[in-house]
């Protein structure tokens, strides 16, 4: 079943077109990796889907419903959550407060989230500003889970994390995949992206240059799409 259908989406930063006519579907339970160079429009695309950035044209349909004009907090209520670039935790709130402030009815409650991510338990009463990068990313993903999303968008999953922290975050993502959560990940690390995702979408200058199953994707094809040496239809 198609959970998210993006059709002819455009988004701008002032006069700059960041997303230019992007169309793709995401099925329920699927994990999609969004790749592309810096400035390709990945972050803007995710933010536009989440309602944090205005669309300049096109349609975003979620569970068959057109999201046009819906502010971000209403999309969260519908089940779309974005883990933003740079984690963006509330620095003066404790980990516990960061989690509970996002809480919504559903299977993910403070206890179930902590069971899934036990390493957050000892940090509960620490202000978010005092966490390490890996701890912050874990908290940010956990915070988004607290909203009980059907569709979880994660921007820059591993950026700025130590290798060990990256392993831990990907363990979490594997857990979520196992639980049937639909995921769209922005990831610079190609190896990681191909390992976890079922499908890969590559953006270049705001357009999709590659959309293919992760399995059997050759590095050459990805590199072509990434740098645009040859346009794949």
């Amino acid at each position: 079943m198609t959970l998210l259908r993006v059709t002819g989406l455009h988004a701008r930063h002032g006069l700059l077109a960041a997303v230019r006519g992007v169309s793709f579907d995401v099925d329920e339970g699927e994990v999609v990796a969004l790749i592309g160079a810096n400035g390709a429009g990945k972050t803007t695309l995710l933010r536009t889907i989440a309602g944090a950035h205005p669309a300049a044209g096109g349609v975003i349909a979620y569970a068959g419903k057109d999201l046009e004009g819906l502010p971000a907090h209403r999309r969260v209520a519908l089940g779309i959550a974005l883990v933003p670039e740079g984690r963006r935790l509330f620095p003066e709130l404790t980990v516990r407060e960061n989690l509970t402030v996002a809480g919504r009815p559903g299977r993910w409650q403070l206890e179930t989230v902590l069971d899934a991510f036990p390493r957050l338990r000892p940090l509960l009463d620490r202000p978010a500003a005092k966490l390490s990068g890996g701890q912050q990313q874990a908290t940010a993903i956990a915070r988004s889970l607290m909203t009980n999303p059907r569709l979880l968008l994660v921007d820059e999953v591993s950026l700025g994390l130590s290798p060990q922290a990256v392993d831990e975050v990907y363990d979490m993502i594997a857990t979520l995949r196992g639980l049937g959560t639909t995921l769209v990940l922005v990831e610079q690390d190609l190896g990681r992206a191909l390992a976890v995702a079922g499908r890969v979408i590559c953006l270049l200058e705001g357009r999709i240059t590659l959309e293919a199953p992760a399995a059997g994707l050759t590095r050459d094809r990805v590199v072509q799409a990434y740098f645009g040496f040859a346009r794949t239809p």
Binding site: A50, G51, A52, P71, A72, H73, R74, V76, A77, A81, L82, P84, R88, L89, F90, P91, E92, L93, E97, N98, T100, V101, A102, G103, R104, R143, S144, M146, T147
Partner: protein
């Protein structure tokens, strides 16, 4: 002994200033704007209470009961109509619009109620005038103590609201990062509107206590805004209990100044404020 009494009275006066200040501080803390109409909204509340008192012959504190919900709604609508739009206009716009609003409210009150100076003290009966005499020169007025107790309760209530409730967490999260708050499902505008409603309600409470304690007229608002602001800065921005300390320091400065010469009362408060601003502490407070 007169000095001791001055300090005592200053502490009570400080309770009133803290009550004025907490709404200003709340809006600043959550939305990063200073509502220049804060004092005028307080005076508007006092006038509404005055109207109810006169028409229904009620005690001012009874008259406050129907007025408080009205002011809560007014605060909510104030955000939904003017402030929400102002916030989108950049950092200066809220200042410009709230100052414009202050002019409108002041002159609206002038038109509706005439420039006469009034007091709710008479209507409040023994509460406004009674006191315990501790010694010949030292007395504790019922009203002064009541204001201080109410101020502590309101500030304490706000503290608990912010620390212990879901809405409090939402306010703090929105204050720190409104964009991300929206991404975890917090409707920032609704949080702002509710915070404004609470701030206007506390201002009304303060306005009524001012009106019972002394006098008020259509142009009393700006002075109260200034005192509230001074209390907030002296106490340290964003700290709830600091607001109480700030109010008391300001109140004591004014009563001590008045002991020297009544003309020095308000000036003494301004000078303490400017001194705090000039001190290294002031530098830390302002960021």
């Amino acid at each position: 002994m007169t000095w001791v009494n001055a300090i005592l009275q200053g502490i009570f006066l400080g309770g009133l200033y803290a009550l004025f200040a907490c709404g200003l501080s709340l809006i600043f803390g959550v939305m990063r704007i200073i509502n220049l109409a804060h004092g005028d909204l307080a005076v508007l509340g006092a006038f509404l209470v005055w109207s109810v008192t006169v028409t229904a012959g009620a005690d001012p504190f009874v008259a406050l009961l129907p007025v408080l919900p009205v002011m809560l709604v007014l605060g909510y609508l104030l955000h939904r109509t003017v402030l929400a739009r102002s916030l989108r206009g950049g950092p200066l716009t809220p200042l410009l619009t709230t100052f414009g609003l202050a002019i409108v409210i002041q002159n609206g009150l002038l038109q509706a109620y005439s420039p006469d100076v009034r007091s709710l003290g008479g209507a409040a009966g023994g509460l406004a005038t009674g006191s315990w005499r501790l010694t010949d020169q030292l007395s504790v007025s019922y009203l002064g103590l009541l204001v201080l107790v109410v101020a502590v309760l309101v500030l304490g209530g706000l503290h608990l609201l912010l620390r212990r409730t879901r809405f409090g967490r939402e306010m703090r999260a929105t204050a720190q990062d409104p964009d991300t708050a929206a991404l975890v499902g917090i409707p920032a505008q609704s949080v702002y509107a509710k915070a404004t409603a609470i701030a206007v309600a506390t201002a009304t409470l303060a306005g009524v206590f001012l009106a019972v304690r002394s006098t008020f007229d259509a142009s009393s608002g700006p002075t109260q805004l200034i005192f509230a602001f001074e209390a907030v800065v002296i106490g340290g921005l964003g700290s709830i209990w600091g607001t109480l300390t700030g109010g008391i320091v300001l109140g004591v400065a004014q009563t001590l100044g008045a002991t020297v010469d009544p003309q020095y009362s308000i000036l003494a408060g301004h000078l303490v404020f400017l001194a705090v601003l000039a001190s290294p502490r002031g530098r830390a407070v302002i960021r």
